[in-house]
């Protein structure tokens, strides 16, 4: 297994003129087309609201890849892993794109008035579809009291962004509502839950958290990449020790930023719903998708003639095992969330599966339009890949592992579509061109940056003290 190629920077650089030296241009082109289309959509009044949902879908589909790659780097550093050194650099490239993802979070932050909770907090109703539903709730509240309604609305308008006022108005509404017979019980739960969340949805706190995520991603993405790249030249062992020493705190920052950014920007799309395991669920998607991307990029580099002497079937076997394992973990976490919500049957929690299973425009009409997507996820994100990737031989054959990785990556996008889009319209499945444009924009820009960095640095950490262990790695 020993290689004849000398482990030096120049032997592991991307050559001029090959497909990989211009890959970033292709990605940049896709990103530019996607971004222009998406911006054009965001500018129009009819699509501005849809844009936010499509963008969050695209953003998190890609963000989870970058964060998962960061997790892969951190776990290798934390455990002083030897086997993964030759595949770690690809993950480091992917994680080094996190500063780009931090910048790409801005469209979400700029558009927070499109979140359903915004009105509750800031008292400035928007005019879009989901808000109309929320407003319908509010009107339903105040309707029996009759006279109270215009006053409350006036007050909310006058005081604009004053949160206390909105709280007061909501409180009044809740009290009135409680006395009204024949109301929708889900509705009371909705309002009460939102009331309790006002501290969390405080705007300063919300932006403060966003600053924390962005700082964490910029710092972690840059730091671990630089520590590794500097070692290419200096061969200094101390850099490995520094990366190892930094990884426990980095792991905590990773976990907190991933969990709470998903809470703030995805879970909050349905503001009354909550699930404490949601962060773990998002983490599982990140782990699966990033391993799939690491496998695909590493294989593609090998196909282009790189890494042949240092990455072999043993490494792919282990990456495949991790991907398989984390995909089972994904199903386990997804089911855990479902089981608890199903068993408890609390109205403010069951909405999530109601929208994704049996909600249709006419009550009692049976399975809704999202039930099909839910079934696709169950069968094609778990059952089929489980049996496809179960066997050791499948994971040790590069074409079949490549198929499995590509498959799971597609399902990863479906999964994120399923998280985000039922919040846009609860009762219908409508595909929109922004659902293509936004992932193209985010993915294109992110991968253009990652692929560009790949042309500037060695494809393996040539200065890592454990590199020989990785080259001679065998599964027992």
């Amino acid at each position: 297994m020993a290689s004849n190629v000398e482990i030096s920077e120049k032997n592991f650089m991307i050559r001029e003129g090959g497909p990989w030296s211009s890959a970033w241009k292709v990605a940049a082109f896709i990103g530019a087309v996607g971004a222009l289309t998406a911006v054009a959509g965001a500018m129009t009044a009819e699509n501005a609201h849809r844009f936010v949902y499509s963008y969050i879908f695209g953003y998190f589909t890609i963000l989870t890849i970058a964060l998962g790659a960061l997790f892969f780097v951190l776990i290798q550093r934390l455990t002083s892993a030897g086997w993964s050194v030759t595949v770690r650099r690809v993950a480091e490239f992917l994680a080094s794109g996190l500063p780009v993802m931090a910048v790409l979070a801005l469209p979400i932050l700029i558009n927070i008035k499109h979140f359903d909770w915004y009105e509750t907090v800031a008292g400035t109703p928007g005019g879009h579809a989901s808000l109309v539903e929320t407003q319908a709730y509010a009107e339903e509240h105040t309707a029996p009291a009759g006279e109270a309604k215009p006053e409350a609305k006036e007050a909310a308008k006058e005081h604009g962004a004053a949160p206390e006022h909105a709280v007061a108005a909501e409180h009044g509404a809740t009290a009135e509502h409680a006395g009204h017979e024949g109301h929708d019980p889900n509705h009371v739960a909705h309002v009460e839950t939102l009331d309790k969340k006002k501290g969390w949805f405080n705007l300063n706190f919300f932006y403060g958290r966003a600053v924390f995520y962005i700082l964490a991603w910029v710092i972690l993405g840059t730091m671990f990449f630089n520590l590794s790249v500097r070692q290419d030249k200096s061969k200094e062992v101390g850099l490995t020790l520094r990366a190892q020493a930094a990884s426990p705190l980095a792991m905590m920052a990773f976990a907190l930023s991933l969990t709470f950014s998903a809470f703030d920007w995805v879970m909050a799309l349905d503001p009354s719903w909550f699930s404490t395991i949601f962060g773990v669920y998002v983490f599982s998607t990140a782990a699966v998708a990033s391993l799939a991307v690491i496998i695909l990029i590493t294989m593609s580099l090998r196909d282009a003639g790189y890494l042949k002497s240092v990455v072999n079937v043993e490494h792919f076997h282990d990456l495949g095992k991790l991907m398989f394992g984390f995909n089972v973990f994904w199903a386990y976490i997804g089911f855990s969330q479902f089981l608890l919500i199903w068993y408890a049957g609390l109205p403010e929690e069951t909405t999530y599966y109601h929208y994704r299973w049996d909600a249709s425009a006419e009550p009692g009409a049976g399975a809704g339009p999202w039930a099909g997507v839910s079934l696709i996820l169950l069968v094609f994100h778990f059952v089929v890949p489980f049996f496809l990737l179960l066997s050791r031989n499948v994971k040790r054959k590069l074409p079949s592992l490549k198929l499995g990785a590509a498959w799971l990556l597609v399902m990863h996008a479906v999964d994120w579509y399923w998280f985000v889009m039922p919040n846009f319209k609860h009762y219908s499945f409508e595909f929109h061109w922004l659902d293509i444009a936004c992932p193209m924009a985010v993915g294109g820009i992110y991968f253009a940056y990652v692929f560009f960095r790949m042309t500037k640095h060695a494809l393996i950490p040539v200065g890592d003290p454990r590199i020989q262990r990785a080259i001679h790695f065998h599964n027992a």
Binding site: F335, F338, L339, W342, Y343, G345, L390, S391, R392, N393, H472, F473, H474, N475, A476
Partner: protein
């Protein structure tokens, strides 16, 4: 096994590398009834010995499927047919509440089959093996590496096997037999 006394050659090596090379030589010479004894798992030894992929998976998969099926049948019969009880307002026979039990039974059947299947495939438990008659063999759990070639191998030959082993530069070769038997030089 035949009534012939099991005899074996025990070759001792100082390093894992030498032991792996010896295993490769024996594999290439067509031996099958030989084994390596090392203080720790040696990477690459499976290939060096020419061991095929473990058959354990072919036992575990059906066991897991059996576990999930039996679990399903059990809950269907108990909750759905024999003694339906409404719990938490859910249907008496409802699939979501079955999943944890189906999962656990799959794991239980798979894990037990993996453990006992491993015993079976390794012909364990085994109360006696002549290799323990060698005094030097105790250091296989300490700092020495051993290759044993058993006389049950069709290629086993006192002269030729010894020559082959000598060519792998062991630090020691000994012929080990069951204690009460004398090793006769005209053994096969």
């Amino acid at each position: 096994m035949s009534d012939k006394t099991l005899t074996l050659y025990l070759a001792e090596y100082e390093s894992a590398g030498a032991c792996v090379h010896a295993a490769e030589k024996l594999r290439d010479a067509g031996y099958a009834a030989f084994d390596a004894h090392t203080p720790f798992p040696v990477h690459g030894m499976d290939q060096a010995m020419g061991l095929p992929d473990s058959r354990l998976g072919w036992l575990v998969l059906p066991a897991g499927i059996t576990g999930v099926s039996l679990g399903f049948l059990m809950i269907w019969w108990m909750n759905g047919v024999d003694y339906p009880l409404i719990i938490g307002g859910k249907p008496a026979f409802s699939i979501p509440s079955m999943v944890p039990i189906l999962f656990e039974l799959t794991i239980l059947f798979s894990a037990l089959t993996a453990v006992f299947g491993m015993f079976g495939l390794n012909q364990l438990p085994r109360h006696h093996h002549p290799i323990f008659n060698s005094d030097r063999f105790a250091s296989a759990t300490d700092d020495k590496f051993f290759i044993s070639v058993e006389s049950s191998d069709p290629k086993f030959n006192l002269e030729k096997t010894k020559k082959l082993l000598e060519a792998t530069h062991p630090t020691n070769i000994e012929l080990v037999a069951d204690k009460d038997d004398e090793v006769s030089e005209d053994a096969p």
